[in-house]
């Protein structure tokens, strides 16, 4: 492991650099192919509306993959992630335009644990709504 952040350099409350991740319909088609999740609620507006959604929504796992980047870009080595969990609270609605949606993610150190590990609590919002709840990662620092 070669995290570039040292355990001794962080304290509870240390904020990680926040990031904003764009997501368009093209992003979702690409993610569907790469992940093998072809559920039509992620690419077919007609189908999404028939099952009661406002529009096509992003894969929850896509949002989860973006949110952890705030942690892995901070530590350098994604292999330093020990635990990662989220609750999917609201869908990220992705309109069919050039803009798509934005997923805004911030994180801060919530606890220092044993063995050079820290718990990072993440906040992810889209269009002003919290899209992930209980979003927490444990990561081992240098």
């Amino acid at each position: 492991m070669a995290a570039k952040i040292a355990y001794d350099d962080v304290e509870v409350g240390t904020e990680l650099p926040a990031q904003t991740f764009p997501v368009t319909r093209a992003t979702l088609v690409r993610y569907a192919g790469a992940s093998g999740d072809f559920n039509p609620i992620h690419w077919n507006e007609k189908f999404a509306k028939e099952v009661g959604l406002p529009d096509v929504i992003a894969h929850g796992m896509f949002t989860m993959a973006e949110a952890i980047r705030v942690v892995t870009d901070w530590t350098g080595d994604p292999g330093a992630v020990v635990e990662y969990g989220v609750r999917f609270t609201k869908p990220v609605v992705v309109p069919n335009d050039d803009q798509g949606a934005l997923i805004e993610v911030s994180g801060k150190v919530a606890a220092k644990l044993d063995d050079n590990a820290v718990r990072v609590d993440l906040t992810a919002t889209s269009d002003g709504q919290k899209v992930l709840g209980m979003s927490r990662a444990v990561v081992r620092l240098a």
Binding site: M1, A2, F21, T27, R30, Y31, G33, A34, S35, G36, D37, G60, M61, F62, M64, A65, E66, I68, R69, T72, D73, G76, D77, P78, G79, V81, V82, E83, Y84, G85, V86, R87, F88, M134
Partner: protein
């Protein structure tokens, strides 16, 4: 109709090995906009002490969710998948997934709850490599929303 509580603790047979390829990791990393070379460049991965390129933390879900199909499609359990949404997801890693891994998944039903007519199913997938070493455990919570009143 609520799911049968007696299924809690049921373990399904391990899956056939899934072989993790470098190009599949690259494809996934690009799909989520990752630019960290540890996912695409074996030398960059080695600089971090990994024997080959590693996969992004959530990559393994594609493998564990496919394995969870054994549970989801178990006719005896009788889950109405058309009403299922993904509630929670958690991973605990012994090490990152990497290119060259041949991974098997053993799925088990960890919990069944009924809440306000919704069925809540907790599936645990234990992922092991070819040597039998633990790589990651994935916990997936699925919620089958109650059918509307007729």
């Amino acid at each position: 109709m609520a799911l049968d509580q007696s299924f809690v603790g049921r373990t399904y047979p391990p899956t056939a090995p899934y072989e993790v390829g470098r190009e599949k990791i690259r494809e996934f990393a690009e799909a989520v906009g990752e630019t960290n070379p540890v996912y695409t460049d074996p030398e960059a991965a080695k600089a971090f002490g990994h024997p080959d390129v590693i996969a992004p933390p959530t990559f393994v879900f594609s493998i564990t969710f496919r394995a969870a199909g054994l549970v989801i499609e178990d006719p005896q359990l009788g889950l109405d998948y058309s009403r299922v949404v993904h509630g929670d997801q958690k991973f605990a890693y012994s090490r990152p997934v990497r290119a060259g891994d041949r991974l098997t998944v053993t799925s088990a039903i960890e919990g069944i709850k009924s809440l306000a007519g919704n069925d809540i199913l907790d599936i645990r997938g234990e992922v092991h490599d070819e040597a039998g070493e633990h790589v990651v455990t994935a916990w997936t919570k699925l919620v089958a929303r109650a059918a509307e009143e007729a």
